[in-house]
Amino acid sequence: MQQTVVYTRTAVVLHWFIGLLISAGFMLGATMTDLHMSPRKLKLYAYHKWIGITVLGLVLLRLLWRLTHPAPPDEPMPHWQRVAAHATHWLLYLLMIATPFAGWLYSSASGYPVVYLKLWQLPDLVSKNKALADVLVEVHGYLAWTLLWVVVLHVAAALKHHFFDRDATLRRMLAWQRR
């Protein structure tokens, strides 16, 4: 049997770590806004922002990696699935960049700059502007929810390939081999 070509270790690590961070960031984001004003709320906002900025940085790194280390060739599948899979992947990249970026913009517009890990203050992308902040928080929210649904689709497709088609699609992202 021919050995399956898998993703590089770097791609695998980045994939799962970013996935974990997105889940944590999303859950925090969805719950923290409804909390009553408290020191804990401020801390959660800070963690949410740090997670978002980490995702942004890692996704850019991963994109760079992907462009220099091509993904393994597609498993055999109908043409439309191939197209849908690739479209989903690039949509994910787009959303993984746009969502934290919109969050960063929102932070700047609302006058609460991002101080990454309490250490480094990121530059404000726009100056303080309440009206703009009100729009940006909506945009950030819509992007986050869209990202969630695209992730759900991505996971469902991976499970479908693993359990129904019984191909190597998911295993390529679980394997731990040097390539």
């Binding site: 004003m37 408290s38 020191p39 401020l42 800070a46 006058g111 101080v115 309490k118 203050q121 303080k128």
Partner: protein, 181 residues
């Protein structure tokens, strides 16, 4: 109707003339700003105090005769979100209900380099007072006098803020002002 003696009107006219020549010492709040910077989780948050009034009597030829008096509405502190604003007006913070005003009254002025002076005075905030010495830079915007400066206060000293917030919000609050007459 009571008649004023002629000398009285002469003095009144002279005083009015001198006041005009020196410019109106009343602060024009629409062109001025007073901004408090809090630090929470090391994030600097600028909160303008939107309502204030006062006057600064300053004459470059007699800088040590300068006088300043300012009054600020504590309820006008704008943290940028309604949640925060509601929080900072509460009793453990600014307690704007009980202490609606904060003030600074100068007691002495020490001239420094040209265009600079140190204003020493009394800051009254939330029922407590502190003597502050504030370095001020004098400038001009058109014909108006402009005064810029900054100082730092301790929240703990004035009893501003709940203890539970202390590991999130820094004790030191920087206040900077840009006052245009």
């Amino acid at each position: 109707m009571k008649r004023h003696a002629p000398w009285f009107s002469t003095i009144a006219v002279t005083v009015a003339f001198v006041a005009t020549a020196a410019g109106d010492p009343t602060i024009d709040a629409s062109k001025s700003s007073i901004i408090a910077t809090f630090r929470q989780e090391n994030v600097p948050v600028d909160a303008p105090l939107k309502k204030f009034n006062g006057r600064i009597d300053y004459n470059a030829t007699q800088p040590n005769a300068a006088k300043a008096a300012l009054e600020v509405d504590t309820g006008s502190l704008d943290m940028g979100s309604s949640d925060y604003n509601a929080e900072v007006r509460k009793k453990p913070w600014m307690d704007s209900g009980t202490y609606p005003k904060a003030s600074f009254i100068s007691t002495s002025v020490k001239p420094g380099a040209p265009g600079h002076f140190d204003a020493t005075g009394t800051l009254t905030l939330k029922g407590k007072t502190q003597t502050l010495s504030v370095p001020v830079t004098v400038g001009k915007a058109g014909s108006a006098m402009v005064f810029d400066g900054a100082f730092e206060i301790s929240r703990a000293y004035f009893g501003i803020g709940d203890k539970e917030w202390n590991d999130v919000v820094d004790d030191k609050v920087k206040v900077r002002f840009h006052l245009v007459e």
